[in-house]
Symmetry: C2
Subunit: 409 residues, 2 copies
């Protein structure tokens, strides 16, 4: 093999990639109602006090707390009822000493009132009401600005919007919101042996799997997949496809064919696209050692191995965090993990991270991770798996019965 | 209050709802490439053997294992090289005794060959090759059908498709796939005090939050939200909106106003829509007791309390599993939970489930759940939270330092 083959541990490999390009995030403004899971491109400060008026949290009577001080069942406080607060309207009256008003949850307190007595603690008496328990000033009331004060930081730039955040923005009247554009990911499949899934492959050929797996993983990581098709093992054709990918997308993935010659071709093409070119050629990981990480003109380029299990593991480790970074999302929002007890020992070689697909089983309330030992070329090993267990770089394996962390697909 | 007010524990309430309608799932066929997270409507059996031909898993030489039996560095086996397997093509030659062929990972074994010797264990000698180690029959080869056999169950009806499943289906040439239609969820907002978020609310009025929170939660649970708008507290108008919702959707949500009169109106309207009507009026849960669960003409109808924290908790407990059930997905695919250590004690009342919003913090590698004690009417309590801790029905609270399960939003 002609290239300088530098095999790095996964973490260092990712850091080298990360340090070799500068995310240039683009912003777009979209309706807040459509912004679920999109990443905020600005800090949001509250433009107003919420609520804008004192609201009752109970059905009952708006009162002046001082009028019901010391009230009890034996010695109720009698108040004159001067009106009812209509939902959604400003009360046209004010409470004076000795007065109360009927109010419902969410109603606006009349001027003069400073607390609400629950209806359960009252009884109607003629034109008025008897209050059977005292209330403190502010009791059963949400004060102006108690939910959020004008000028307070509400949500930070880089935050992926959750359902309740959408609600919060709407509450403040923020119906359009600047978010980062989703990064586009060009997916190129190579290999003379690869045909489109719609075809019946002749002897010696196989259907394209990785384009579609990578496409789904891209969507899940918050990117927009651009399918560039299947490119034959031809330097000029691959170079052309990569250039198109770099023009149209923010990230380029080349799902290399499985043969060494295709992998070499991928590496040569990445290096001839521009500077700096290949940064890492080979990662100390199984499955997936023959991985290429590169950057050309600030565009991250990935050469993933052809076998489907490697492609998924490497996508998860390298491409997904790159998509998130180019989405403006925090690095911390990595994959979902669960803790489970390993059912069988896994052997490994120190100095290499092993990723072993596992099935998750719940037995008597305990979560078990059962390794699926299969050749990494088998897509259905992966279909049966719910995640992978990582065997750390410096460990010679994991023992049955150990608690392990499973990275969920 | 005129209705029979039956307050049930959450689990029983959900079971009563579940038992009162029959999911009638509708199927549609869509491109597999677009089927991520969609739920399979049929069992998928493999239509063919995968791979369809014996493939090499290494770069090296295709051989007859019997020809290299006992080979070693000291006593290599010499084989005549009769050709090279071209990627994606059926080899036009067969191996006879004493012969080998150059082969790459993914290449098709020539007839006569039954194993592959890694290139690392060979050395070129003249027109032939010396093999320095023996191989067993089948070594470094994926046999026909080893990934999956024709007729084998691949994926089961009700399975939500993951990225690797999309790849597996493509590998089998299954480029279109029958999935269940996503359930449509009509979201009706009520309350004379509620205005659209685009408006500046006059004194006494507030912007609609729950329509948008419920809409985002619907999308996340796998449903299609249909926004029916804000309906005034008027029986005829609400009845009309509900009827439209039932015509257009599979589930109807009424986000009730906060006042008791609106809640009563919601209940009356659900009962007058048809049979069986209201099943549960009140759930032993905080926040969110005044919840209505009903079914009319096999359509589940939810009356959710107006306050945003209740709405989110109740959506998660009742509406999300209903959406999943009407998506054809297994009940088990419930919300994501993590285990964390509680930072502060939470008081509760036995006989009621409390859901307390918490923030998650990682301190020295440990995950901590910090309760956010806020009034349940405050949307920004929820915006600051990452999930809720459940205080079980029969427990008087949770103590600081306990390990608790946090339901992630």
């Amino acid at each position: 093999m002609p290239e300088f083959f530098e095999v790095l541990p996964p973490k260092e490999a990712y850091q080298k990639l990360e340090g070799s390009y500068t995310p240039r995030l683009k912003t777009e403004e979209i309706p807040t109602a459509e912004a679920l899971d999109r990443v905020l491109a600005v800090d949001i400060l509250s433009p107003e006090d919420l609520p804008a008026f004192p609201r009752s949290t109970m059905d009952g009577y708006a009162v002046r707390a001082e009028d019901v001080y010391g009230a009890s069942e034996g010695l109720p406080a009698y108040l004159e009822v001067v009106g009812e607060v209509i939902m959604g309207a400003e009360p046209p009256f004010a409470l004076r000493s000795g007065q109360a008003a009927i109010i419902f949850t969410g109603g606006m307190l009349p001027r003069g009132a400073n607390a609400v007595v629950m209806v359960e603690n009252t009884q109607v008496l003629g034109e008025g009401v008897e209050v059977l328990r005292p209330v403190a000033v502010g009791e059963n009331v949400i004060q102006v600005g108690e939910d959020i004060r004008q000028g307070t930081a509400v949500l930070a730039r880089g935050h992926p919007l959750q359902p309740q955040d959408i609600g919060g923005l709407m509450a403040l009247g923020i119906i359009r919101v600047p978010v980062y554009r989703k990064p586009r990911v060009a997916i190129i499949s190579t290999g003379d042996e690869v045909v489109s899934p719609g075809q019946k492959p002749p002897a010696g050929k196989v259907r394209d799997i990785n384009t579609y797996t990578c496409s789904a993983l891209t969507a899940r990581a918050g990117g927009i997949p651009l399918l560039m098709g299947i490119i034959p093992d031809d330097r000029a054709a691959l170079l052309d496809a990569c250039r198109q990918g770099m023009e149209q997308a923010d990230i380029v993935i080349i799902s290399a064919g499985s043969s060494v010659s295709t992998r070499d071709l991928t590496a040569q093409v990445i290096n001839s696209l521009g500077k700096p070119g290949i940064l890492v050629h080979g990662v100390a990981i199984r499955p997936g050692k023959p991985t290429v990480l590169g950057v050309v003109e600030n565009v991250p380029i990935f050469g993933l191995p052809g076998n489907p299990v490697s492609a998924v593991v490497l996508f998860t480790l390298f491409v997904a965090p790159t998509i998130r970074r180019l989405s403006g999302a925090p690095a911390a929002s990595s994959g979902r993990t669960v803790t489970a007890r390993l059912t069988h020992s896994i052997a490994s070689v120190a100095g290499r991270e092993d990723y072993v697909p596992v099935r998750l089983l719940e037995v008597q309330g305990e979560l078990l991770a059962e390794p699926i030992f299969g050749k990494s070329n088998l897509i259905f090993t992966l279909v049966r798996a719910e995640g992978t267990v990582r065997v750390p770089l410096d460990q010679g394996g994991l023992s049955a019965g150990e608690m392990v962390e499973v990275l969920i697909f």
